[in-house]
Amino acid sequence: MGQTQPQIQVKHDVPIEVKLEQVQRLLEQMGIRNVEPAAATAAQVKRMCVEVEKRRAAKGYVEKMEAVMTSAGASPYVVFAFQTQQGIICIPDANFIIGTNGIYYVHKMDCRDSLKCAQVADKVVDLLGIRSLVSSATFLAIHPSEQELCELGILPPSACRKKEKEMEKTEEEEEEEKEEEEEEKKTAVKQEELEPLESVALKKLTEELMRAQRHAAEEQKPKDPKATLKELGLGWLAELSEADVAALRSVAEDKMLLNTIKDAEKRNAVRKFIESGFAVPQPAAPPNIAKWPQKDVELFTKLAEGTRSFHELVAKYLEAEFGCDVEIVYKMLKDLVQQAGGCERLQRIRSRLIT
């Protein structure tokens, strides 16, 4: 190699001529003899290389390098150019090289055997101490088989593991995709036609929903006063025809006409009904009911529904609580009220029952 070797200090404090000698020796050992040494400018190197290993340099280092280049007129670094089928792949012994003016020493190697070339590149990288700076992509550009590079230990184990994981992942993904596709196919087959049972079920479900909607809409509507009257045990008021209600409305102001209803209870109910503006009569709640326990309030509301008198309410209570017969209790209460000395009679009954 008859190139001029500049006497300048290089990275790692190794003189350039030493490096070049080592490279020469290494290349010979590797059986690569057809190395073309050449001096090239940065522009020429850029033009020549399809791919240049790009690295970034520390700011201070670039300045120093530029100073050296300016003073010496040549780069203290070498560029290894691997001529592959895809083009020339360059590995410069620097982390910033191309861009600064000056001469670069290029070792151009013909890589007919790309694997061997990759091995040379690997050795070169080791020799130059730039292992951490050269990416796997550069080696792959020289020799595209990742598996072979991994087997030879040229690519870092992490890259190989990543690749393995990716391969595994892709396999898993492929399997999952296949499974999903199969499931989709199955469901597609399933969902092709709605079975008769399912179509009826769908229809019924829709009907249920419609019914629920109608029911909700009905609930929102104001309650029919007649229905409420029936619920309150004032059914006879509800039995009044529309004409009767209209008549009642018309006579509302003429209270004298109310006297035509002979039954006093009914008359009072009608009067109240008219006076309240035909509002639904609300059941009277006992005083202090708000202070009652919730359980008692619920029981009272339940029992009071449809009762005609207090006695009936009491009878219902005794039935609910002790299982007494409503009719008997009701009659007893009536007798007790009608005849004097109710308590004494009760005591007598009690003593008779005990004996």
């Binding site: 469901t187 399933k190 969902q191 709605l194 079975e195 049972l197 399912e198 009826v200 079920a201 769908l202 019924k204 479900l205 829709t206 249920e208 929903l209 019914r211 629920a212 909607q213 029911h215 909700a216």
Partner: protein, 149 residues
């Protein structure tokens, strides 16, 4: 018509839905296209909860309930039969329903297993046995399903 959206809206607003609604929902739960969307897990849990609550309340015997697949399947079919939901409004048995329910059992049991995981152990000495046999205390199940529905 988006049936599932309507159903979700009805549940959200507390509209009174017929008992058969839940059975029909379990029958149709795989029919995204016809229902207008997928049936959410919460809705499946609600439907199943209603049915199992009915089944647990119906059979007052025993302190512990084993929610294994045959029990759940029978509960669904009995519920439909008791409430006279189609096709049990005219027939006593329906192999078609049983086949559809069997096809949906995987999704249904996933809901049941989730409940069993959060249930207190039916027997403090052998909690793993309870988990394995999907056994839960009947009282807890009643309370839990009541809150769910």
């Amino acid at each position: 018509m988006n049936v599932i959206a309507q159903l979700e809206e009805a549940v959200k607003t507390g509209k009174e839905l017929g008992p058969c609604t839940w059975f029909y929902l379990l029958i149709l739960m795989g029919r995204k296209k016809e229902l207008g969307g997928p049936v959410r897990k919460r809705l499946i849990a609600k439907a199943l909860g209603r049915i199992l609550l009915w089944a647990v309340n119906r059979n007052g015997k025993g302190n512990v309930v084993s929610l294994k697949a045959p029990y759940v399947r029978n509960a669904i079919i009995l519920y439909a039969r008791e409430h006279k939901c189609y096709p049990y409004d005219g027939a006593q048995a329906s192999p078609q329903v049983e086949r559809i329910i069997n096809a949906h059992m995987r999704a249904i049991m996933a809901v049941v297993r989730r409940w069993v995981r959060i249930a207190p152990p039916c027997d403090p000495d052998t909690p793993t046995v309870c988990q394995r046999h999907l056994m839960v205390k009947a009282e807890w199940l009643r309370q839990f399903l009541s809150t769910l529905t």
